[in-house]
């Protein structure tokens, strides 16, 4: 008897283990039970007997609970399109430093496992890779045939930002967020130190002067925190007339004299001039800003989520990057919803993807967080947000053309590691800025030389067609 019981218990354990691994239910889905139980490959019927199409939408998240906003977006969407039920699946990136790499890896795993969503949110760095691998559907025909419906969305967009998602005449998305890097300034620290807030067209010399004033103010704060986020670091390169790659993204330009000047400035800021603390893996520049240990950081609106959760209100004033010879130029990027080629419902998937670039989505999802690419809704949203003052400058940067996109060739994952090591070496004083940049330069060129994306004339033509403003 004991043996039979033991055998049955073992069998039960095996079955339990098997059933645990067999759950393919999306981690998170639309706001109704109906939507959450429908799988991506099938269709269902609503109460009126009409066919309901479930569209799986994958989004990047930093781990925040999105259930309430997700429900609101779902309700708003089905009010307009009752026969399409979007199921939002939030995917976190486990990459340290919270970038999109881990998210994209999970998307790729889903695609390889025949469990691909219909629509995915994609940052500008992933567009070229997706399009080159022929995984995304162009929206051109859909946009042409829905001109009237899409007019308010398209008119509220910056034309150049739209071009980031357009390759070789194919439009892969209408952006829903459009982040640019700006200088975040702690107003209270500036006031205590008796420093006036800078103008839009401030210069690098003025910035250095401010650093000296804060350092000598007697306040227990550093003038700024060095950024370990290469997107933000790129902005500091741009405003100094440097760039990580050459104009057509065929070779590295990271060890140009201008670039060395920037890197050396930040290394000296930590180890010579006492302008900045040594960056760490644990305490981010945003945390230092919230803890009021630094007066300035360089980042985008996306950190307003952190400001908001820490109730860091009415403290931060944003401004352009100081002109160090490259203008007050920022690094900017955007993200959009891309329809995957394998979707069974392209029309419905495109409806969801384009709707998400509209006002309702922005108002629901982006009260804090990224900067809405829909300028009309974005202006109202930012005005109501207490975390960032002088937010208008983030849109002025686009209006004035004071931005360049981040350099994201299809090899961006490998470049990201090179940049990360390079900044780590500079910030830890392991080598001089010039040595670190020369080393990074060689590595970048080696990546391009061995790249799988640059073998054929077609591939080279494709890279040439990427919008490189």
């Amino acid at each position: 008897m004991k043996k039979i019981v033991a055998a049955l218990l073992s069998l039960l354990m095996v079955l339990t283990a098997a059933s645990c691994s067999g759950n393919t239910q999306p981690a998170s889905s639309g706001g109704s039970d109906e939507a959450s139980t429908a799988d991506g490959g099938g269709s269902d019927e609503d109460g009126g007997g009409e066919e309901v199409v479930p569209i799986r939408v994958a989004l990047f998240t930093d781990g925040n609970d999105m259930s309430a906003t997700q429900k609101a977006v779902f309700d708003a969407f089905i009010e307009e399109y009752p026969n399409i039920h979007p199921q939002f699946e939030y995917i976190t990136s486990d990459s340290y430093g919270s970038n999109w790499n881990g998210y994209l890896m999970k998307i790729q795993t889903m695609i390889a496992g025949n469990d691909a969503p219909d629509v995915i949110a994609l940052g500008l760095e992933g567009v070229a890779m997706m399009a080159m691998n022929d995984m995304a559907l162009p929206l051109n025909d859909f946009i042409d045939s829905h001109q009237e419906e899409l007019a308010p969305i398209l008119e509220a967009q910056n034309e150049d930002l739209m071009k980031i998602f357009e390759i070789d005449g194919n439009i892969y998305s209408i952006p829903y967020e459009a982040n640019c890097v700006v200088t975040h300034i702690n107003k209270d620290i500036f006031e205590e130190a008796g420093i006036e807030l800078p103008d839009y067209d401030w210069t690098w010399e003025e910035f250095v002067e401010i650093c000296e004033q804060i350092k000598n103010s007697g306040l227990d704060v550093y003038p700024f925190a060095c950024t370990s986020n290469f997107f933000a670091y790129q902005a500091l390169m741009y405003c100094n007339g440097a760039s990580p790659l050459n104009e057509d993204w065929t070779a590295s330009a990271i060890n140009s004299p201008e670039s060395i000047k920037v890197a050396q400035f930040f290394q000296d800021a930590i180890f010579k001039n006492d302008y900045a603390p040594e960056p760490s893996e644990t305490i981010t520049d945003t945390e230092l800003m919230i803890q009021e240990r630094v007066a300035m950081t360089w980042t985008g609106r996306w950190v307003s989520d952190d400001y908001n959760s820490s109730e860091f209100y009415d403290k931060v004033y944003v401004n352009t990057l100081p002109n160090g010879g490259g203008g007050n130029t920022s690094c900017a990027g955007d993200a959009g919803f891309v329809v995957l080629k394998d979707t069974k419902y392209p029309e419905e998937a495109m409806t969801v993807a384009t709707w998400c670039a509209g006002e309702t989505y922005a108002r629901t999802f982006m009260s804090t967080g990224s900067l809405p690419a829909n300028f009309t809704a974005g202006a109202e949203i930012c005005a109501a947000d207490r975390t960032i003052d002088n937010w208008e400058v983030m849109y002025e940067i686009y209006d004035n053309g004071d931005w360049k996109r981040s350099c994201d060739p299809p090899e961006y994952t490998e470049l990201a590691d090179i940049y990360s090591d390079m900044l780590s070496i500079i910030y830890s004083n392991q080598a001089t800025a010039e040595e670190a940049l020369n080393d990074a330069n060689d590595q970048i060129n080696e990546v391009f030389a061995n790249s799988d994306y640059r073998d054929t004339p077609e591939e080279l033509a494709f890279i040439e067609a990427i919008y490189k403003r």
């Binding site: 695609i111 490998e414 910030y427």
Partner: protein, 304 residues
Amino acid sequence: MRKTRQRKLRSAWRENLTGYAFVAPAFLFFTVFVGIPIVVNVAALSFADFSLMGDFEWVGLENFIDVFEDDATYTILLNTLKLFAVLVPTHIIGGLVIASLINAVRNRFFHTVFRISLYFPMVVTTASVAIVWGYLFDTDFGVFNWVLAEFGVEKIRWLGDEHWALFSITIFSAWKFIGNAFLYYYIGLRNVPESYMEAAAIDGASKLRAFFTIKIPLLTPTIFFVVTTTLINCFQVFDEPYFLTNGGPGVSSQTLAMQIYRKGFGQYHFGYASALGVVLFLLVIAVTVLMFSTQKKWVNYDTE
């Protein structure tokens, strides 16, 4: 005669069936999550160019050639060996010293408190405590440097300097994982019969002498187990450098396991990552075989 044999066989099969049933879940788990991935990795992925999105392409030994031609491999292998050289003795000797000291504590309350305190870090996730330790180690705002400053000591770049980073990782690793070695040693020491120690005391042996001539020889099977598992774990070290330094400064604390993760899940070069995985696998196998082949010379299984 035949019937008796058949009956015996049936009885033996029935008896074995219970054993098989108990082993089945673990066997199934191991096969699906360890066995099959190892076979696929060794036999297929390491000889292929594979990135999830592109086509699967056989490339022969190209990945292995790339691994050995890549300068980064040697830097990272050296880092792994450096960490290995520091972490292994810390865990093996540190665990034994602590277990011996706690075993000598007679007060039951303190005995229990020490045991729990030492094992507690083992049950906490590395990611969460690494953040706390990051705050302790921080150069400008960290607790350690704040305390040192009170004594007039200059700031130490615990995680920012390549030499100190290794030391800091070792401190964290010892705090986090030494409880594992401690637990095995502790159990082993508790199993040494008290009568042996009493006999040694009557014969006039000092406590230290009794420890080295009685306890240590009786503890060698445990020491063998702890050394073998620690060697294997230290070759695969990932959590500590990943969360504390992310392999930095530069690549000075990057390990083989981190490089596998970076190449595979960061850059989508699964073929290269698999080849590196095979190299790590062979290193671990070599160490394990070496340990087992030398055990006869120093491990004492005779408890009588």
